[in-house]
């Protein structure tokens, strides 16, 4: 109190000091706000990460008294994962290949649906409510139950053409694949594209399930585009198609970057992906817990590289609107 009273009477130099101290006080308040994260990051998370790296270089033995002993073995776990284990490298490459195909599909599909759901139409609220059900529900244990679901396949057997995913629905899958293949053969496009589209259609359930959060993010982005821009477009006589490519797409492009990165993170860390399933099955085998640590660190490095690539590639094309 006293010092403040002095400061008000002081000259210009003191005044500058006071402004700086307000900034300092705000900075201190900022630290208080992030303190829970910083503290527990240092106390809990960092040791966990360091331990995990440490374990991956050790063999572990749990003693009878409740303690455990570590035995340093160097790169042995990594060598075992990469060269001895028969299935790890194979699962890794096929899993990553699958994810690289899935990610553009999810990003494009969710953008498409978000644009559809952003229009004014009857029943929009109901459709939105239905489309976001998978966000809440298709995770964790329910996802795990759906992984090998013989009942669903059986039930959907009569529904030709539509594959509701989650397993080997032989008849439906073949039907839809053949139809689409025939359609695309007539259009004379490459077989790679045909295969890609066919696999996308077969995985449609999976893709819908995994694009919920992305849809929400896109919708938020679409809402933030000023209606004035669309209005001026329609006055100038632009068609809906042109408006999408010249206005919506550039304006939404930061969101595409965010979503691409989120999708990479989400699909690589989700438990339903094959690599994760394999790693967790290794974790459950005897003495496999350190091996699975090593495996997941290898996996993490690959994920980091892919995120870096995606971010570098997309950020070259992202358009940021200058906001005052």
């Amino acid at each position: 109190m006293n010092s403040e009273a002095k400061l008000t009477k002081a000259g210009a130099t003191k005044k500058r000091k006071r402004i700086a101290s307000l900034d300092a006080r705000k900075a201190r308040a900022g630290w208080v706000f992030v303190l829970p994260f910083v503290l527990s990051f240092i106390i809990i998370y960092l040791p966990i990460v360091i331990d995990s790296i440490k374990y991956s270089f050790n063999k572990i033995k749990i003693g009878q008294g409740g303690g455990y002993t570590l035995e340093f073995v160097g790169w042995e776990n990594y060598q075992e994962a990469l060269f001895v284990d028969p299935k790890f490298v194979q699962t890794l490459t096929s899993g990553i290949q699958q994810l690289i195909f899935d990610i553009p599909a999810i990003v494009i599909f969710s953008l498409f649906i978000a644009v559809l759901l952003n229009q004014k139409m009857a029943g929009r609220a109901a459709f939105r409510a239905i489309f976001f059900i998978p966000v809440i529900i298709s995770t964790g244990i329910v996802d795990q139950i759906d992984q090998a679901n013989t009942m669903l396949d059986y039930m959907s057997d009569t529904e030709e053409g539509i594959n509701d995913g989650s397993g080997q629905n032989a008849t439906a899958e073949i039907l839809s694949a053949v139809d689409i293949e025939r359609l695309f053969e007539n259009m004379k496009v490459g077989t790679e594209l045909v295969d890609y589209v066919v696999s996308m259609v077969n995985n449609i359930y999976d893709i819908i399930n995994r694009s919920g959060v992305q849809m929400l993010i896109y919708l938020a982005g679409l809402q933030s585009i000023s209606p004035a821009i669309y209005e001026s477009c329609s006055i100038d006589g632009a068609s809906a198609w042109e408006t999408f490519w010249k206005v919506t797409f550039p304006m939404i492009s930061p969101m595409i970057l965010v979503n691409a990165i989120y999708t990479v993170i989400d699909s690589f860390t989700s438990q339903s992906n094959t690599v994760m399933t394999y790693i967790s099955s290794v974790y459950d085998t005897a003495g496999g817990n350190v091996l699975s640590s090593a495996m997941s660190w290898i996996y993490f490095l690959i994920v980091l590289v892919i995120i870096g690539l995606v971010a570098a590639l997309l950020s070259a094309y992202v358009f940021y609107q200058k906001r005052d």
Partner: protein, 352 residues
Amino acid sequence: MNSQQTSNAPRVMKESKNKIRVEFERTPLKDRLKARFLNMNFFKNVVVRIFTYVLLIGISYVILFPFFAKISGSFMGKEDFVDVTVKLIPKYPTLDTYKAIISENGYFTALFNTFTLSALCGLIQTFVCCFIGYGLAKFKFKGNKLIFFLVIFTMVIPHRTLQLSMFMKFRYFDILGIFDLLGGGVFEWLRILPFSSINLNNTYWPLALLSFGGLAFKNGLYIFMMRQFFHGVPDELEESAYIDGSGVFRTFLQIILPLSVPMMITIFLFAFSWQWTDNFYTTVFFTKTGMTLMPDIVGVPATLDTQYAAQNLYESAIRNTCGLLILLPLLVMYVFLQRYLIGGIERSGIVG
């Protein structure tokens, strides 16, 4: 239109002092309808609408069909699974599956435990992430960028990677080696505590502690969403509060928090339901015998006889029924809170 008006011009008649009556020949209904409906623009709109609705209804079907299948499967008696003619509508409807799961798999214990755990974690995470997001969005201090990077970092690390060390951390819980030091682990003479570490597994503590730090499942995403939301809140609001003499924390509690309720409900919905169905942390920190949680009730009850022809199908139907029972409370909550989910996200302005 114009030519018609000139040929039979409207007649204006004075009815009373302040009233006039205009008589004119309206364009016949047929012509008006023609002008309205028989043009390219209207036709195009109709086609686009039909296409949109077909697509949306089709995808809704893909999303909802598994639910209908699961629901009908849960009411089927075991005879239905052998009968080839039965697909979606059971011929021998029964509630046995539900009864067996609820009584034998300990559904209500699991419901209670999971509800406590999810509500606890959901509430803590909502407030903590709101707090951290506000700090990251509205204050410029050294290390702000670094902390944001760390938040993203916690999101990127697959939690499988940390499975073993997380288990170890909370099995032999210790804060920076203090318990070890006081428990005589370093120096034998310094034994103040009777233990050198605490076993926190099979309690709510590991997840509560992780939630307090904003480190639990997908908390990076929540913090990111909160930060983007607060970026969209105009600074002038707080500045006027500061000028009126309110401190930083009072401003946060009385002005910012009420503003962000829809966003917080969204976060709570995510946190609660992802914790509810989570089977990673629950398997790491809890053993089945220690505490029954939702993932533990998935299994085939002993009294249901599955040893015959359609065994696979029947067991799968039972597991799906377990899934339905797990989801039931979530669905009820979703029905009430979904409008906040969509409204909250729309106001969040998650822009780059």
